[in-house]
Symmetry: C2
């Protein structure tokens, strides 16, 4: 299957304040956006793709002259792919607070003339959805055919149906949850402590010191990575395999291949990811809890989304956002007699499965997007 | 039920080198030991209790004048308790490399006159068992009634049956595994990286700098703690409960109760646990793999223990050392037609369950130790 080919990101500047859930506002910000495919005449074929922690607006295609620059969901999005850019106009938006082009902690705080650092306002899933809604508006789209996301992106897709139910027809939420469990929050908190207690963090104002809290970022990424993979896939891929040369009786050198892999992941991540962004995004994950304002009743939370259509997908070996969590969402939707499809894919790869191209998974996605493309659009 | 009451630790000095698996030797070392109950006339009622990461020789009883000084397995060991000190003579030994009295990284290296620090020789489960065997010998005991341990202690109990099969009759191994999985090693490695990359670690020679790598120890303990608890028990105990005052929109302050709990655990641990000991003990866990020298065949590994008797216990919600791992051991024993009892306890507390006094669990332990106490001892 073909790729969408060379793509270019565009910068959209917003001079109107973005009011945030915390009561703060984000002033004079810009968002980085990519689009693929062609918006049709009645502007009814747009699909917004929401990203998770370590991704961006760059969903598909490659950048000219940049080797290995494939978008993070390139296997799903493109001409002839499950989310077919010959039929859909696909939009990727980098969320504010991220570190891939949109206004974030490393940018200048207009109030101080210095980088925001730790003073970047705390953003929530709701805030991101509000920011995305402005992008969609600016693109001249009144109603999205669908909002799609995996993991934290799935939370944003769900949030769209609650916040802007009139502005989308379908929600496709993959490997996600109605909120984080205590264990999920616990892993986030350990990662944050690793970053915040790194002496190079300087209370979040490390830019001014010309350093990066790489030690903390490495540990944070290593912890995260363990939770993305299933126990079984880690066992199958690494098991107890040792480095070449066998046992070296060392507590600090690499002895097992899994150690080498994790250290490599940590090192890579610490080279490009912003520490303040890590804190912000994990906090947005922690806070997301649409049932909360309905006394913990998820069914009541989804009442407002009653005439939307949903696809939920989960993966059997995902212990970060297990199928049980997706089933909670499905139950709340069924309680509301919502049109919901649910696929539980028997895949060995854990949470990471949502980024891979398992044929059963992609088959489900293709069928669902084909249905969206084929259905008649009733314009109001 | 009564406690064993006031207890005192004793120091045993060993001038004969302890040869280690690595090829190094431990010179002129001492081990801290406690005993409870009375050794009977034919010296047949001794039970050795092996400790895991964060425990010691202080298995039961309290220290006079020290509040809250109960031994770590006080609910199991005492007069009338499942491991009944009215019938058994119970021995606790602090393993070398630990930080609770036996020779460890903070002690003086006789070769340099400086604290060992990172130069303390890497010790293995086999080395610990060898050290314990010398203690048992010095106590004048030719054959132990049983060796008991949970988690890493269970590995030591298993190792006794392979290394000194003639010196024990029973092995009681709780919440343990025949080796660590890739995921287990991964968690250990992240914890070690947090410690080693803490600037206060100074390559393991922090004693000379008058500092302690507390940041790393805190993160290590927080990670460990997540793996000791079950997802469900964390959910039941903390869920998404927030600190008093509700949401504060902060990435660095405590927002959720689970964060407060984990930080507290990390802080406490960093006050008393030695960073080099943490590295050593997690490495001993990583290395333990009795099947390895038999081409990965655990059944062949246990051939030598064919006439021993075993009790294995696991807990349904233990995801660190899941029942599956205990069943691997049971299978290897059954393959060898060994006398093995196995109990899988439906307990909600995860790995920590082995330290709690679930009545079904303690019922199984009591029944098994009663059987040991009642069986005739055939002296060779």
């Amino acid at each position: 299957m073909a790729s969408v080919g060379y793509v270019k990101a565009q910068q959209m500047r917003f001079e109107q304040d973005l009011p945030l859930q915390s009561g703060a506002v984000l002033r004079d910000y810009s968002l980085t956006v990519e689009t693929y495919g062609t918006l049709n005449a009645d502007r009814s074929n747009a699909v917004l793709v929401c990203h998770a922690l370590n991704a961006s607006h760059h969903v598909a295609g490659v950048y000219e002259g940049q080797a290995r620059s494939e978008g993070w969901w390139d296997n799903l999005v493109g001409p002839g792919k499950p989310l077919d850019t010959d039929r859909f106009f696909v939009i990727g938006v980098n969320n504010p607070g991220s570190c891939f082009g949109s206004t974030g902690p490393m940018d200048t705080n207009p109030a101080t003339g210095q980088p925001y650092g730790a003073d970047f306002p705390v953003v929530t899933v709701e805030d991101w959805v509000d920011a995305q809604a402005r992008v969609v508006e600016r693109l001249g789209i009144t109603q999205l055919a669908a909002v799609l996301g995996g993991s934290l992106g799935g939370m944003q897709a769900l949030c769209w149906t609650l916040r802007y139910p009139d502005r989308l027809r379908h929600c496709v939420a993959v490997a996600t949850a109605p909120n984080l469990s205590a264990q999920n929050i616990a892993f986030n908190e350990v990662a944050r402590r690793a970053i915040v207690t790194d002496p190079d963090f300087h209370g979040g104002h490390f830019y001014a010191h010309g350093v990066v809290p790489k030690r903390g970022l490495r540990v944070a990424r290593m912890i995260g990575h363990i939770t993305y993979l299933s126990d079984d896939s880690m066992e199958a891929k690494f098991g107890r395999e040792m480095r070449e040369g066998g046992i070296g009786y060392s507590t600090q050198d690499i002895e097992f291949q899994i150690e080498s892999y994790l250290r490599h992941q940590g090192d890579k991540f610490s080279e490009y990811f912003d520490a303040n962004t890590y804190l912000l995004i994990t906090r947005a994950l922690d806070y997301f809890d649409p049932a909360k304002q309905h006394g913990g009743d998820l069914t009541r939370a989804f009442q407002v989304a009653r005439d939307k259509k949903f696809l939920l997908v989960s993966f059997t070996t995902d212990w970060r956002f297990s199928p049980t969590r997706s089933r909670e969402i499905v139950k709340a939707l069924v309680d509301n007699r919502v049109d919901v499809s649910y696929a539980e894919i028997d895949a060995p790869h854990g949470h990471d499965a949502f980024l891979l191209d398992d044929p059963r998974y992609h088959g489900v996605m293709r069928a669902y997007f084909d249905r969206i493309a084929d259905e008649p659009v009733v314009t109001a």
